[in-house]
């Protein structure tokens, strides 16, 4: 292949329809979605297939199933609604704060609230969660305040909460790594004899559709099946991995991958908090009783961009977004609460007021976040001593002191 080939756009095959790019421009930099991407997007607006577990329709109607019938009180339902509203509000504030320059980046979960609150609420105190980097809703369920997540996006820390105390690992940005870590943790739960009865421990790993192409996710499924590890693989299939549609990751519905490894796979409506809760609870129970692992594919949609650095208009159609708005996770629960008469306007108003308070507190906290001092660079790079690092630290701090001395003498002394 000659070098010249790379500078010429590839001409279309004779008879094939033209791609979305204009003639003469390199295909890779076309601003309009390609035909393939349009088709992929339209496919993603499908209902999720006949094997989708759903307990609450987009219209807010309760679906009855014998296999999944969660024992949820009206308080639980109102609690789920409140959780989703508050988590969405924090998410929108994070997005806004980034646009205002207060955060370097924000990773939005818009649209995925039901999958995360449903799964998060199914966790028991003895369980451990391994998120990717978008699971702010699960963090909420684990008792982590939204402000504790801000350091990562502000650039002041790499995660400030205590993973072991909260049962929620720090965010893992390298795609798929956390699935192996979760499997190892779950193996540990089994080795300690904590698996096998109602009070057994389980682990849940969160990852996206894109991650399922990574070797680590595959290896985690191999290992967890071989060691009977009590781990729930919770895949939030939000249809997009930045600009790559689901079709770029798989030929087969993701939940079917599990059968290749020898454990159950199930697809749930990820915009249905009741189903997400019920299926995750079932999966965790299977695991804590020793019948793990389990793969859950939560069929949902990434309503916003991959991050605030992304521009989805370059690769997907607004039509797709509009279709998914009709399946909004919070709206369907609101309609259901009204229909069942278990929530009134006062309740919705109080939740909105709480969201306003949370937003104000969140913004306040963000504005007040100070950059740590330079010493922080050297803090805790090792558990035990490392003389070269300590020497570097001392040298750098002495170097900085030199500026302070200069400033002091410039201010106080004679020029």
């Amino acid at each position: 292949m000659s070098a010249e080939h790379w500078t010429r756009p590839t001409p279309p095959e004779p008879g094939a329809p033209a791609s979305g790019s204009s003639p003469g421009s390199p295909a890779a930099t076309a601003a309009k979605p390609t035909r393939e991407q349009v088709i992929a997007g339209l496919r993603a607006t499908s209902e999720g297939g006949a094997e989708l577990v759903q307990l609450l329709t987009p219209e807010g109607e309760r679906v009855s199933r014998s296999d999944f019938d969660p024992d949820l009180t009206s308080d639980d339902l109102r609690g789920m609604y409140r959780d989703m509203v508050l988590v969405r509000r924090a998410d929108r504030e994070g997005n806004a704060l980034q646009r205002q320059g207060q955060l370097g980046i924000w990773v939005p979960l818009l649209g995925q609230e039901a999958a995360q609150i449903g799964a998060g609420r199914a966790l028991r105190p003895q369980d451990m969660a391994f998120p990717s980097y978008r699971e702010h809703g699960v963090a909420w369920c684990r008792g982590i305040d939204p402000t504790e997540l801000l350091g990562i996006f502000r650039g002041t820390d790499h995660g400030s909460w205590d993973p072991l105390a909260t049962g929620f690992n720090l965010y893992t940005i390298v795609i798929g790594n956390q699935c192996l870590n979760a499997t190892g943790y779950a193996m540990g739960q089994r080795f300690e004899g904590r698996v096998g009865d109602d009070d057994g421990a389980a682990t849940i790993a969160f990852f996206g559709d894109g991650a399922t192409s990574q070797g680590d996710v595959h290896e985690a499924m191999v290992w967890s099946s071989v060691y009977d590890a009590p781990v729930v693989f919770f895949c939030q299939n939000n249809q997009w991995a930045i600009s790559e549609p689901l079709e770029r990751q798989t030929r087969v519905p993701l939940y079917r991958r599990a059968s290749g490894y020898g454990f159950p796979g199930i697809r749930v409506d990820g915009n249905d908090v009741l189903a997400s809760y019920a299926v995750t609870k079932w999966a965790l129970e299977e695991c804590r009783h020793g019948n793990g692992p389990v793969l859950i594919e939560a069929f949902t949609y990434r309503m916003d961009a991959h991050t605030t650095s992304d521009d989805p208009t370059r690769y997907r159609l607004a039509d797709e977004l509009e279709t998914w708005k009709l399946k909004d996770p919070i709206e369907r629960l609101r309609v259901h609460l009204v229909r069942e008469k278990v929530a009134d306007q006062d309740f919705f108003d109080s939740v909105d007021a709480e969201a306003d308070e949370l937003a104000a507190r969140y913004r306040e906290f963000c504005f007040s976040m100070a950059t740590p001092p330079p010493e922080r660079i050297f803090s805790e790079s090792y558990a035990e001593a490392s003389p070269p690092v300590e020497a570097q630290r001392e040298e750098y701090l002495r170097y900085l002191e030199g500026f302070a001395d200069q400033q002091a003498s410039a201010v106080g002394g004679v020029r």
Binding site: S160, L170, G184, D216, V222
Partner: protein, 338 residues
């Protein structure tokens, strides 16, 4: 959690002749006995006892939940070890050969090296990764690599290499007791070389270099499989009336160069020896630091004797590739001629 005890006066056996392989096996046994959280895991380490028999007999005595025969996946070995460490275990992973560590490199760099820092100490990674390394065994591709500098360059990891049975026995236990992730490089071509182990003699700390043989003519620094070569060169050099001071680095990250600086200030000449390719290597780091600290003491530039900057050759050519005592002595001569 308390680190496992490693100094256990053994009143029944005073001195015994052991190989490096035996020393490593004894160390693993001692660690498994002293701390129920220690796990040994890797391909073929259980029933087979490891392709080099380093883990021989351990699964029989400690069971399949302490000594794990793992699936064939290095990323899986390291990634699950990270999770096990989070759960409170002290995993000792075996990578079957140096050249196969790379599927695990992602987990090592992205998670293992960073979790302590990321969590600011709330999560510890007391994981040891044992790697048989180096050439000289007549093997096919990927079985004779020296990748240690790739790991020394990664902040958050510690890297050590034993050169003899006594160090093998103590350093592995110390690495297992260490709360930081340690890459433990074992000189596979030396696995069956022997030494005298007296378990009542206290070991020195893990992250220290050691002067093995005093001398005045020049300082020769090496680690792992090259220590034998350096000591042989020193013996040969005596016949020419040169006394070479041989220093075993033992720890590659953090380097303990104090003894090297002290030696160079006396001898004025330094030769650094390693099987690994020269470019951007452990030897590069030693040279950089020595010229910084001992500039006015140097009578000649620091010279390096290393593998070539090519992929490791077919084994019929490895005797040309690997530094031998002649090349070390040649470097000494060039230094002296300066």
């Amino acid at each position: 959690m308390a680190a496992p005890t490693i100094e256990r006066p053994d009143t029944q056996v005073r001195t015994q002749t052991i190989t490096i392989a035996k020393g490593l096996n004894m160390a693993l046994r001692a660690a498994l006995e002293s701390d129920p959280k220690v796990l040994v895991m890797g391909e073929d380490v259980g029933k087979l006892g490891g392709v080099f028999r380093i883990t021989d007999g351990l699964q029989k005595d400690f069971g399949e939940q302490r000594v794990l025969d793992t699936p064939l996946a290095e990323s899986g070995i390291i990634g699950t070890a990270v999770g096990l460490a989070m759960r409170g275990f002290r995993p000792v992973c075996e990578i079957q050969f140096d050249g196969f560590i790379f599927p695990g490199f992602d987990q090592i760099v992205s998670q293992l090296s960073k979790l302590h820092y990321r969590s600011q100490g709330k999560v510890k990674m007391p994981v040891v990764i044992r790697v048989p390394f180096g050439g000289g065994i007549g093997a096919v591709e990927h079985h004779s690599e020296s990748p240690e500098s790739l790991f020394a360059h990664v902040a958050g990891l510690k890297v050590v290499s034993c050169s003899n049975p006594v160090d093998a026995y103590w350093m592995l236990q110390q690495a297992i007791a260490c709360d930081d992730p340690v890459l433990f490089f074992e000189p596979k071509r030396r696995y069956w070389e022997k030494g005298e182990l007296d378990t009542t003699v206290r070991p020195e700390p893990l992250f220290r270099s050691r002067v093995l043989r005093p001398g005045a003519t020049a300082t020769v620094v090496g680690y792992g499989p090259m220590i034998r070569t350096c000591l042989d060169a020193a013996t040969a050099a005596e016949e020419d009336g040169h006394s070479l001071e041989v220093i075993d680095l033992r720890t590659l990250s953090p380097l303990d160069l104090g003894p090297v600086f002290e030696s160079v200030r006396r001898t004025g000449r330094l030769i650094v020896v390693s099987e690994a390719p020269a470019e951007s290597s452990i030897t590069s780091e030693v040279v950089a630091r020595v010229q910084q600290e001992c500039f006015y003491s140097l009578e000649a530039p620091v010279l390096r004797v290393t593998g070539f900057d090519t992929p490791y050759p077919p084994s019929k050519l490895e005797d040309d590739y690997l530094p031998d005592l002649d090349r070390v002595l040649d470097a000494v001569d060039r230094s002296l001629a300066w």
